[in-house]
């Protein structure tokens, strides 16, 4: 019951996507009726022609036969032409719907809160936007055209058959549904087999992902044999259940074909006897036999259509789940302008999941142009503070203010544009080095770009790339080392320097020597800008105006390097442990 309800709701949403194409769909419907009727008319003409060919010296060529043959040619050409136009309409509708669905899903993803995106596996979202949309459209196209033309064919054939002979028609109508039952019977019994198969497949894919995704570790530990054994065990299980599922489901075709043959024999019997009694001509029998074939075909297809449509619905529901996901809270219209760079965190409470408290009662007041370092052990909440500053996440209570404005009262865009950011997670586009550097500031000149690359010590290795600045980086910068990619990220932010900076482990992948070299550029960058620096290399942050020492979501200490050392607190322990072996 519930399922029917959701299906209905889904159908309404699908119709919304089809709506702009209603005129084309109407054309499609008219055309497919025409195509079906025309192609049904052809056997009738064939039958009439056959009836004119009775015995030697009795064939009436010029008056009757040629007339019919010319009519046939006309029907043939018309049918083919309409069929082609019909497919074109169908294709246009299908691929436009695909395009619209993907565009909408992608647009929504841009507005989804990070709290959602961070918890979803990206591969799964990609698969929804690409594969599920594709499968839905395929299913819908095949399902709809076959269902619709199938029904028209059945009705049309019945109509034509009835015009020829009642008894033979009755035979066809009574026997054909048997094939439906056979197909349904097989489908019902194979359903469980397919379920087992897809479960086993899932189990195998998980193992493949884990092993192949981390093949280096497997090799380093000599676990190839053991992994292969485990793989083979599942593989054998999969072989067994796949064979069952595939074999039993492949019985549908022979079985329905068998029923069709029975129908054919039945038509032959009733028609043959009828012909002897003079109830119908040989030409009409020929015509009925070919109708019998055409009539049974849609029945065979319709059983497949149901699964196809069901599958399409499952796919589209997954896509709608993205499109309908609640976006980030609505924007305020006020823009943050001429930012001075004072940042205040007042009584901030935040946690990702309610059961696990993280940041509690965090207070911080930063004057414009100050340099704030955040240090502490893994998992202490350093990156979380960044998430709150950038408003990737909203606080649970308390407030984050920039220049006195609560960040929730200004547009996200204007807030984020006030920060320049280099993250620990290195991300580059699948594009040229140049376009990656110009990502934030497409209007920068060539000289500015090269100056930034030089400052980030990236210029020399970029020059050594096959095409220099025009080298296309493969997806997420493959081909470059992590450190080189991070240098590009740094150069990228240098090209567009807003009033505030966030450097979250910005040099984590860069060796200390290069890091030392780019410190100059960093200090120039930070000069006069409010800067937040997260680092676990304490050497890089000793000259910060304030060091926040965090542990378990709390600020344990805060102050200048020398004061903190003098306090002999947690910072002191952290600092001294760095050189011990």
């Amino acid at each position: 019951m519930n399922k029917i309800k959701t299906n209905k709701a889904t159908l309404v949403k699908v119709l919304k996507y089809l709506k702009p194409h209603f005129p084309l769909i109407a054309v499609t419907i008219v055309l497919s009726v025409a195509v079906v009727l025309l192609s049904l008319y052809l056997p009738r003409l064939t039958g009439q022609a056959v009836d004119l060919i009775k015995h030697a010296d009795e064939v009436d060529f010029f008056t009757e036969l040629l007339k019919i043959l010319i009519k046939m040619l006309e029907v043939i050409v018309l049918t083919a032409a309409l069929q082609w136009v019909l497919s074109k309409c169908n294709n246009t509708v299908t691929y436009r719907v695909i395009r619209d669905l993907r565009r909408d899903a992608f647009n929504r993803i841009q507005k989804l809160p990070l709290s959602y995106l961070d918890t979803k596996a990206h591969g799964e979202l990609v698969s929804r936007v690409i594969n599920d949309v594709e499968q839905f459209a395929d299913g819908l196209l095949i399902g709809f055209t076959q269902l619709f033309t199938g029904v028209v064919t059945i009705i049309g054939t019945l109509f034509f058959m009835l015009r020829v002979n009642l008894i033979v028609t009755a035979v066809v109508v009574l026997v054909t549904p048997v094939s439906l039952f056979v197909a349904a019977f097989i489908a019902k019994h194979t359903h469980d087999m397919f379920k087992v198969q897809s479960e086993t497949k899932g189990e195998q894919t998980a193992l493949i992902n884990e092993t192949v995704g981390n093949i280096k570790t497997v090799i380093a530990y000599n676990r190839e044999g053991e992994r292969l054994e485990r793989f083979d065990e599942i593989n054998r299980k999969l072989q067994k259940c796949s064979l069952r599922a595939i074999f039993y489901s492949s019985l549908v075709n022979p079985s329905t074909r068998f029923v069709n043959s029975l129908v054919y024999a039945g038509v032959g019997l009733a028609g043959g006897l009828g012909a002897i009694n003079g109830a119908l001509t040989v030409g009409e029998l020929t015509c009925l036999l070919s109708y019998a074939n055409q009539y049974t075909k849609p029945f065979n297809e319709i059983s497949g259509v149901v699964t196809e449509l069901q599958n399409a619905f499952v796919c589209i529901e997954r896509v709608f789940e993205i499109i309908e996901k609640e976006p980030e809270t609505a924007e305020k219209t006020r823009r943050l302008e001429d930012v001075k760079g004072s940042v205040d965190l007042k009584n901030v409470y935040f946690s990702y999941v309610p059961e696990r408290k993280l940041i509690e009662d965090l207070n911080l007041s930063v004057k414009p142009g100050r340099k704030i370092a955040i240090v502490g052990p893994t998992g202490c909440g350093k990156t979380t503070v960044i998430n709150l500053l950038m408003r990737f996440y909203d606080v649970n209570s308390g407030s984050v203010n920039v220049d006195g404005f609560d960040v929730r009262d200004v547009t996200r865009k204007s807030l984020r544009q006030s920060y320049g950011m280099v993250l620990q997670d290195i991300w580059l586009k699948h594009d040229t080095v140049r376009n990656n550097l110009l990502f934030a500031n497409p209007d920068a000149t060539e000289e500015e770009m090269i100056a930034a690359a030089k400052a980030a010590h990236a210029h020399s290795f970029i020059k050594r790339l096959p095409k220099g600045y025009d080298t296309v980086l493969s997806e997420n910068g493959g081909g470059l080392s992590e450190g080189q990619k991070q240098l590009l990220c740094i150069a990228r932010v240098m090209l567009k320097l807003p009033p505030m900076l966030i450097l979250d482990e910005a040099t984590s992948s860069i060796d200390t020597r290069t890091e030392h070299k780019i410190q100059d550029a960093f200090s120039r960058m930070m000069n006069g800008r409010t800067s937040f620096i997260v680092a676990h290399r304490l050497s890089t942050i000793q000259n910060a105006d304030v060091i926040l020492v965090m542990k378990d979501g709390h600020v344990l200490e805060q102050g200048r390097h020398e004061d903190l050392l003098a306090n002999k607190g947690f910072y002191y322990t952290l600092y001294n442990s760095r050189n011990a072996v």
């Binding site: 043939i76 841009q110 093949i215 991300w427 060796d511 050189n579």
Partner: protein
């Protein structure tokens, strides 16, 4: 594709029987029009009701036998296809496990996974459909033509004209369509890439407020894909009308010739009906064939990709009797003369090692030469991309040298069975990876028969004991790839997994980078205190951590610019001093 055929070998019987039974079934179908013709000419023409009934029972008999034949065929086809896929998956999996690290880097894990899953599935259905239909459809087309000739040679000439024209048209359309589908596939891949890229870069994109640009770029990409798809689909949509027109024009010609032949008294009315039936059988089969060719083209594309992967040479077989590379020909490779110091044999020695990833590339390592003795601790330090990981990868033979040699216990690593070699040497990789199972299972990867006491000891030394105990102890479930542990926890667990093995050589490749200083220091202390005879290599980016090492190797751009103790290097090596002072 020749590497794929091997996997079908065990199924020769099935591969013959499946199409054979299909042909039996098809033969019956070819006789049906003759039965109907006989019914018309003998039964109806003579008013013989018994004959009509008899012929109908013949048709029913054909149906029953045909059913039996086709079920048999389906069975053999399914068995061959599933068996083929199973063995191919096994073969490919085993092959991937034998790839060298440079090949793995070249292919990328995502590609390998797609080959294992999607591509092989597609191949399985390709084999299945091919066995079931590929012979059947041409057989019916040709068979129908031959049968038509037995009915009447002159009338059958129509077939002789229509069929070649038709085949030509069908294959021309298919061949012309393939490049169109290729470009659709490429555009789809690109869109997939764009989607994934957007998700991984969500923070950067939002930080730079680039959502609008992303949406615009994506819109363009979807529109391009849509245009290509419509173009390709409209082209293939020609297939049905074209075959329909050709066949039916053939039909009209057939009726006309038939009429002429009946008129001169050469054939009967029933024969004309039979000829017409053969023509419609051909139409049905051609449509099936066209669909099949699409499935097969897809499968062939997948097959080529899988085959390509199978052709990547298997990493590094043990070269039995290898006496070392030619480059060091002057120097005898015997262990004794190799270890010049105190007559001891070095555990690991690098002899003028150079490495190039591929022909013509710059050298990633140049002329590295040093020895390491039992129980020593060696630090490897250098900038990003200086070759540290590559150098360490030579010892367990993840990579091969392109000149010189890497010796373990005085023997060239290439003369070892890789498995035996890796029993001696354990590397903790930069990227810490755990596997689904319990913590205990994961540690037993290092030592399959480890007791709980040993496991706990290793966990304690790796500073992992506390957080493991705070969860569910050794029985804590590890999710796929260790997702339920933080980066630092994963690193500590993978170090514990290495420690438990008590290997002869332990390599820590920057494997505590996610740890804070305090934990890192405690870890290093625990490791060095319990080292015993183990030779330790530590790759690091911090000079401070290497102060206690017996030897530090400073790499820059693939060259060893300094080898010595911390204090010496501080005096003699500029690069080292720079790193240390950073």
């Amino acid at each position: 594709m020749k590497r794929l055929w091997i996997f079908l070998k065990g199924y020769t019987k099935e591969c013959v029987l499946a199409p054979l039974f299909k042909l039996f079934e098809a033969s019956l179908e070819l006789i049906v029009p003759l039965v109907v013709a006989a019914m018309i000419d003998n039964g109806i023409a003579n008013g013989d009701k018994a004959y009509v009934v008899k012929m109908c029972f013949v048709l029913i008999g054909f149906a029953v036998v045909g059913l039996a034949f086709s079920i048999t065929a389906q069975f053999f086809a399914a068995r061959a296809a599933v068996g083929f896929a199973t063995e191919l998956r096994h073969g490919l999996f085993a092959h991937i496990e034998k790839l060298s690290f440079s090949n793995i880097d070249g292919q990328g894990a995502d590609t390998l996974i797609t080959r294992m899953t999607g591509d092989i599935n597609q191949l399985q259905s390709g084999v299945n459909m091919t066995l079931r239909l590929f012979l059947r459809s041409p057989f019916i087309v040709l068979g129908a033509m031959i049968m038509a000739f037995t009915v009447d040679v002159k009338a059958a000439l129509v077939f002789a004209v229509v069929i070649p024209v038709l085949s030509l048209a069908v294959f021309a359309l298919l061949l012309l369509g393939i490049p169109k589908f290729d470009s659709v596939q490429r555009a789809t891949d690109k869109l997939t890439g764009k989607t994934r890229e957007n998700l991984t870069g969500v923070r950067v994109i939002r930080a730079f407020a680039k959502e609008e640009d992303e949406i615009r770029g994506y819109s363009l990409a979807t529109e391009l894909l849509e245009k290509l798809q419509v173009k390709a689909a409209n082209f293939t949509a020609l297939m049905n009308p074209v075959t329909f027109v050709l066949i039916n024009i053939g039909l009209v010609a057939l009726i006309y010739t038939g009429a002429v032949r009946v008129h001169v008294g050469a054939i009967s009315q029933g024969a004309v009906v039979a000829l017409v039936n053969y023509m419609s059988q051909i139409l049905v089969e051609l449509i099936k064939l066209a669909n099949l060719v699409i499935t097969i083209t897809k499968a062939v594309a997948c097959g080529k990709r899988v085959n390509g992967l199978l052709e990547v040479p298997e990493g590094m077989p043990a070269e039995a009797g290898n006496e070392g590379p030619a480059t060091s020909g002057a120097e005898p490779q015997t262990p004794v003369s190799g270890g010049e110091a105190n007559g001891r044999v070095p555990v690991v020695s690098f002899r003028n090692v150079s490495v190039r990833y591929y022909e013509g590339a710059d050298e990633a390592l140049k002329d590295i030469d040093f020895d390491v003795y039992k129980g020593e601790t060696v630090g490897i330090i250098g900038g990003t991309g200086s070759g540290k990981t590559t150098l360490m990868g030579l010892i367990p033979r993840f990579y091969d040298v392109s000149a010189g040699a890497c010796l373990v216990d005085g023997k060239d690593v290439r003369s070892y069975d890789p498995e035996k070699l890796r029993e001696k040497i354990v590397t903790v990789l930069q990227k810490a990876v755990l596997f689904k199972g319990t913590v205990r299972d994961n540690l037993r990867m290092g030592k399959p028969d480890a007791t709980d006491d040993e496991i706990i000891e290793a966990l304690k030394r790796a500073q992992a004991y506390d957080f493991v105990m705070s969860k569910n102890g050794l029985d804590t479930q590890v999710e796929q790839e260790g997702r339920n542990f933080s980066g630092g926890q994963r690193q500590r667990l993978s170090i514990a997994r290495a420690l438990i093995k008590k290997p002869e050589v332990l390599i820590l490749d920057d494997s505590s980078s996610a740890l804070d200083y305090a934990t890192d220091a405690a870890l290093r202390k625990a490791i060095s205190e319990n080292l015993g005879d183990t030779t330790l290599f530590v790759v690091s980016q911090r000079a401070g951590t290497l102060a206690g090492a017996d030897k530090v190797v400073v790499l820059e751009d693939g060259e060893a610019v300094g080898i010595g103790k911390h204090e010496e290097l501080l005096k003699t090596c500029d690069v080292y001093r720079e790193i240390a002072n950073a």
